[in-house]
């Protein structure tokens, strides 16, 4: 009896092993060509682009999120569109506005809307929708997060303060359905570029009012969460949203630039990176963002099967180490320069990010309008750093703290440990202080956070989006830099109002050198590369011009295998 049982168990084990072995050869990879290699298990049509999202999307309402823009970028229109150029840069093109003029004083933007753009509820996109978009973004009864994109309009502050309900006739002057002026309180040179950001998605008044009513008010609005009420005029329509499972964007056949070539975009919520990898390998998804699993980068980039399917994009952003000049001895520029020179950035980039990116010596990425290719390199020279420290009176080094926050990714946590080791070699004793995310942000806002590592992703192609964000008078404290070069700060604040574009760009180049290299107010680390691997059937995929994870999928086409 025992022998029979043992034999039965052994046979079962052998059958299982054989089955496993048989499948290993081909089914694991899945050719993903849409012609017979893959049988999709999600119930959607073959001509649907399948992507993943590693968390539940925050909201489809651009007023309610500063992070997840995948829905707004695909279902709404903006007045202008920023698009990638073949040389890796970007250009500003007409969107819902087919043309515009700017007044000589740089305060008035006369916009001319394209006629015939229809929302999916049948309404036409008009100047009144632009007015509604601004008014509702500034409405103090809504918990809107993106009001800073519009608070420079005349009358905006009154609406934010509850003293007015509209900027009509002040910040927005409507001439007719298709022509209107946007009036700013003072000239703001980058304003035009901001009109292409998702925060400036043009919402339909009637659709939003209906969504508010259905949700029981402005704070409970169904807009951005319930597909039926989230009406846009963009290339896709929010069709289905099954929480923590998937979002389906169906192609809009009436889109003014022509219907997309795919039937839709299926966004699957997959929180586990290994699961995501298996799904991609099986052909169940079309695009795999390797930021979610950076350790797999070498595997895909060297794989015979995938190496030609890699889509890299240097991000329009910068990773940096913030220096708090209020904390001794960082008030001394020699100490700050010594820190800059003693970080082996290339080794960190190669070790942690598999070399996917470029070392930064300044603030602006290469595709920035005023990128300075002649900016001197900050050399890696620990000996020179030691000499600078000795000169500053710290020949024996000093103690310092780096603050990390609980939401930092694994690479950031490792990066600060590498810094601890690298600075240890020149006598600096680094303590790593791990803080809760909310406390980290709160302490930073008081200007008392010690050194920290962060990454900034640009929103629009203008140096103001970088240098003003960090080194304007208010920001330098709330970001815990406490930069004290008041002359440079005054120039940064003045530059955004300069009307002559060439002069303005030259000014930004000079300011970058002063802030980052002469004053060593920051330690620039690198401009990282975002790498995706796509199935062979995916054609025409263009990453977001700034390298964001969220992008428009309008240009994508799915083809049969060759």
């Amino acid at each position: 009896m025992k022998k029979k049982l043992f034999a039965a168990l052994l046979s079962a084990a052998m059958i299982a092993t054989c089955l496993t072995g048989c499948g290993g050869g081909d089914s694991g990879s899945g050719d993903g060509n849409g012609t017979g290699g893959v049988s999709y298990d999600d119930g959607f049509a073959e001509n649907v682009l399948r992507i993943t999202y590693d968390h539940e999307c925050e909201s489809g309402d651009p007023r309610q999120t500063t992070a997840d823009y995948i829905i707004p970028m695909n279902i709404f229109d903006t007045l202008l569109i920023t698009e990638s150029t073949p040389d890796g840069g970007s250009e500003l093109n007409p969107g819902a506005a087919e043309s515009y003029e700017i007044s000589e004083d740089g305060k008035t933007y006369s916009m001319h809307l394209r006629q015939g753009i229809k929302y999916t509820n049948g309404e036409e996109l008009t100047a009144d929708d632009v007015l509604y978009t601004v008014d509702s973004m500034l409405d103090p009864e809504r918990n809107t997060l993106n009001s800073p994109w519009m608070d420079m309009l005349v009358g905006a502050q009154d609406v934010l303060d509850g003293n007015a309900t509209t900027v009509e006739g002040k910040g927005i002057i409507i001439h007719d359905d298709y022509n209107f002026d946007i009036v700013l309180t003072e000239s703001y040179a980058p304003f035009l570029a901001t009109l292409s950001t998702p925060a400036w998605s043009i919402l339909n008044r009637e659709a939003c009012d209906a969504a508010d009513e259905a949700g029981g008010g402005k704070t409970g609005t169904f807009f951005g969460s319930e597909p039926e009420y989230t009406i846009g005029s963009g290339p896709f329509i929010l069709k289905e949203w099954v929480l923590n499972d998937h979002i389906y964007l169906e192609s809009n056949p009436d889109y003014w630039r022509g219907a997309p070539k795919i039937d839709g975009v299926l966004i699957k919520v997959v929180t586990d990176a290994e699961t995501e990898r298996m799904m991609f390998d099986q052909g169940q998804t079309d695009i795999f963002d390797l930021d979610n699993a950076p350790h797999l980068l070498p595997e895909y980039t060297t794989s015979e099967q995938w190496k030609d399917c890699i889509v890299p994009k240097v991000t329009f952003g910068v990773s940096y180490l913030a220096i708090n000049e209020n904390i001794e001895p960082f008030g001394d520029v020699r100490v700050r320069k010594a820190l800059q020179m003693s970080v082996d950035k290339q080794t960190i980039l190669d070790t942690l990010y598999q070399g996917a990116g470029v070392v930064a010596h300044g603030m602006y990425p290469a595709s920035m309008l005023c990128y300075n290719k002649d900016l001197p390199e900050i050399p890696y020279d620990p000996e020179a750093a030691k000499a600078l420290l000795a000169d500053a009176g710290y020949a024996d080094g000093f103690d310092m703290t780096i603050a990390t926050n609980s939401s930092d990714d694994a690479n950031t946590k490792e990066l600060v440990q590498i810094l601890q080791a690298q600075w240890g070699q020149i006598g600096i004793n680094v303590t790593i202080d791990q803080m809760d995310e909310a406390s980290w942000y709160d302490v930073r806002a008081t200007g008392e956070l010690p050194m920290y590592k962060a990454t900034w992703w640009g929103d629009f192609n203008d140096p103001d989006n970088f240098i003003y964000t960090f080194f304007s008078g208010a920001s330098t404290k709330t970001r815990s830099f406490n930069y004290y070069n008041t002359e440079a700060i005054a120039r940064i604040e003045a530059a955004r109002h300069m009307v002559d574009e060439a002069e303005r760009m030259e000014e930004y180049k000079e300011l970058e050198k002063i802030v980052i290299q002469d004053d060593a107010a920051w330690i620039p680390l690198f401009h990282l590369e975002k790498t995706r691997v796509v199935q062979p059937r995916v054609k025409g995929f263009v990453p977001h011009w700034a390298g964001w994870g969220d992008c428009s999928y309008y240009s994508v086409e799915l083809v049969a295998a060759e």
Partner: protein
């Protein structure tokens, strides 16, 4: 009997209120402003100040608790900071998935666990007994996420028999149910075995055998019926625990249930969502224990008599 059930229900009510209070206070004492986290790198002091005020986060803790309790009694658990939807709706959409997972996993656990326990007890100290107990032990010991990934690798990536992730068709339910059910079946099998072995030594079993009743009837009618009292209690508690969310299983298999909701709330520091989902899960466990107590009273005549 009725008195016993009433007593158990009455004990549960203050427990529930205490849970709401403790969870609320615990999350309030955490440092930092959630609005800062909502804005992240795009933080703007003026917006943070405005939204903090609008959300009532500047009010005293007691005022906020009172407001929360009153709203909760009306079924309003607030609005998620991050997802911008009513928390009751979010829980309402996630719970059916958790229920499906709990039911299928419990079925697997019971179908494997009870027969395995009975066979092991009958075939005590045989190779079969050792195999079944070993199988149970592996189920209990194996980390759920590892078993899940192993199954995904074999049945999805290699054999292509089952879908890797998602929760829409019956095929999607097989692996999660087995992974979670296997872990629970081990406990049931071992408890059934030990309980049955204890029962089978009783005098009334010897009497039944002496009467010439068939051995299978002795085991099922006289042995198993009594041996199942602690097992059923365990099964009810396990089921309540499954209903409160299986974080690892839901995460690996991409099931949008209560567990995933809680994890996403923790990751994004979405306090109202975390508060609502933790309170909901705790309520489920309290109710599960209440049901187990009531069930126990039905099964155990000693309690019925008390």
């Amino acid at each position: 009997m009725g008195k016993y059930i009433t007593k158990r229900i009455l004990i549960s009510i203050p427990l529930m209120i205490a849970v709401v209070l403790v969870v609320f206070l615990m999350l309030q004492v955490l440092p930092g402003n959630p609005v800062s986290v909502m804005m992240g790198e795009k933080a703007n002091p003026a917006v943070i100040e405005r939204v903090t005020e609008q959300m009532g986060l500047n009010d005293p803790v007691l005022v906020r608790f009172g407001r929360y309790l009153i709203d909760a009694l009306h079924g309003d658990l607030g609005i998620s900071y991050k997802l911008n939807r009513p928390i009751a709706t979010l829980i309402g959409e996630a719970f059916p998935n958790t229920v499906k997972l709990a039911i299928t996993a419990a079925l697997v656990a019971w179908i494997i666990g009870i027969p395995a326990g009975v066979i092991s007890a009958i075939k005590k100290d045989t190779l079969l007994d050792r195999f079944l107990m070993g199988f149970s032990l592996v189920g209990i010991s194996l980390p759920v996420f590892w078993a899940a990934m192993l199954m995904q690798f074999i049945f999805s990536a290699q054999l292509g028999l089952l879908p890797i992730s998602g929760y829409t068709t019956w095929k999607h339910m097989i692996m999660p149910a087995f992974v979670l059910g296997w872990a629970s079946s081990g406990t049931i099998a071992r408890l059934t075995r030990s309980s049955l072995l204890g029962i089978m030594k009783n005098d009334y079993i010897r009497t039944a055998r002496a009467k010439g009743i068939k051995e299978s009837l002795v085991v099922v009618r006289h042995g198993l019926k009594n041996a199942m009292i602690p097992v059923v209690t365990m099964m009810a508690m396990q089921f309540a625990s499954l209903l409160s969310g299986a974080v690892m299983t839901e995460t690996v298999f991409g099931i949008g249930g209560i567990g995933v909701l809680m994890v996403s709330a923790v990751n994004t520091r979405d306090m109202p969502l975390l508060q609502g989902s933790v309170i909901f899960s705790t309520m489920i466990i309290i109710l599960g224990n209440l049901v187990a107590d009531i069930l126990y009273s039905f099964l155990d005549p000693k309690i019925r008599e008390q």
